[in-house]
Subunit: 283 residues, 2 copies
């Protein structure tokens, strides 16, 4: 993939779309066109240098593009991708949505579409917080289907590598099951914890007095982007509900260990967590 000859269109120029534009510019793409239904977001993306040419419509943005990145909320990605495929008859279309099964299923048979998901979540939002190095070193899931054009897959992989991310191929359903566990469950637990702490009154002392380092860590992502995250959790509801139910089962097991006062078992449970942490998120 010769990135220098690439004409890119970004649809949805918020934090993710804006960062895609900035990262693409830094990687040397020929030009970036952009469209957002929110005129202010589009103007700010232009001001930040994430978009060279603002377009008045999605069709205008994708007209001359080789690659289109859809960076709108998950609920509207499939529809915007269909419009992009219709509007740019030779372009490849990908997205950066946090779920994949529903989107890829809606676009099954579209050889020029390839679902994607860069794992660089941020609790921030808007093009003002976009960063050219948001994707540096992070996993970027790609979900090619049997019917996906090999040329489109190569193009998207090349682009992902050009912005510094590591492309990892995954089936859409496996992707959603995986992120239910590693991203959606953590977000849900953060919200649940802060909600419980906020609703509880302990005699004489405000709960905030007890909010130390572990509470801050566990709740950093709590309350992030309510409409965006409501969409994500609902789009992946089946896998998230399954992860939450399994979490409740494990929680009940822990309660039983604590009730029994089983110091050996509680200790080995924490030791097992230490090993898993090193393996999964060693840092």
């Amino acid at each position: 993939v010769n990135v220098g000859e690439l004409s890119l269109a970004v649809v949805g120029t918020g934090l993710m779309g804006g960062s895609v534009g900035l990262a693409a510019k830094r990687a040397g793409v020929r030009r970036v066109t952009g469209f957002d239904v929110d005129e202010d977001a589009l103007a700010l993306a232009v001001e930040r240098g994430a978009v060279d040419l603002p377009a008045a419509s999605l069709a205008e943005a994708v007209a001359g593009a080789d690659l289109v990145v859809i960076a709108t909320p998950v609920g509207s990605i499939a529809a915007r991708a269909s419009e992009a495929l219709a509007g740019g008859p030779s372009c490849t279309v990908t997205d950066v949505g946090s779920t994949k099964a529903g989107i890829c299923s809606a676009l099954r048979g579209e050889g020029r579409f390839l679902g994607g998901h860069p794992l660089c979540g941020s609790e921030l939002r808007g093009p003002g917080r976009a960063e050219a190095d948001l994707f540096a070193g992070c996993t970027w899931f790609l979900a090619p289907l049997p019917g996906t054009d090999p040329g489109s897959t190569r193009l998207v992989r090349g682009f992902v590598e050009a912005v510094g991310a590591e492309p990892i191929a995954i089936a859409p359903e496996a992707h959603d099951e995986l992120v239910a566990l590693t991203s959606h469950l953590p977000h849900a637990l953060a919200n649940l914890l802060v909600d419980q702490a906020g609703a509880t009154r302990v005699a004489g002392v405000d709960t905030s007095a007890g909010a130390g380092g572990s509470f801050r860590d566990l709740t950093r992502v709590a309350g992030a982007n309510p409409p965006v995250w409501a969409d994500i959790l609902l789009e992946n509801a089946e896998a998230v509900v399954a992860a939450l139910a399994e979490h409740r089962r494990l929680t009940e097991e822990l309660e039983e260990l604590l009730r029994r006062g089983d110091v050996e078992q509680v200790t080995s449970w924490i030791e097992r967590a230490a090993r898993s942490r090193r393996r999964l998120a060693g840092d």
Copy 2:
């Protein structure tokens, strides 16, 4: 309280005890004696400058002390505090344990004992990681009882302020209920999450590929100090089990919202979390 005239004894010279020694030295105390059953930990605390005079026994360490800080694992604090009260007939004794009800109840009637808990948790351990500024700006809970000598309370409060922490008075039971929610529940959720992610296999992709920012945040404290944390969770088992059971109830409510596909309610649930987060841990 004239800190410069204070002779301090630290019993248990790990991360917490070592940091108490370093912070006390920086605050200008006259001298710090120290004892630890682990000779290496004591030698390292001396090397780090956290302890001036290493003692061969708890009795030797507390003999000439005005203030004794017990910084051993929670399970042994009450016994070590009793020995200190017996060994230093005029000293005030406090502790830095993460739970208070059991310890304060065991020492009820001891006018020179006052339970304490600095909220500066760290996943680190050992005197090698001790820091003089570990307590700067953090909450330090103190649990005086009706029978506590006012002079002892004044001494401990003055010491806490001298090392830069903010003393907050709280009843032992309220303390344990509060930290069950703001510290023990977060630790338990971190361990539960990493345990679940470690045990789950998603077709074709290692779970670690999905471990992004939110997973790292949520699991930073997972696996911390297994024997120490097993002690803490078990010492506060009743309040922790109650917090976990309430957490399960809230989790089940969320599953129901997600199953119903109720986007408005899921959005307001996240908005409520955002408000609680700002109130409890605004940063």
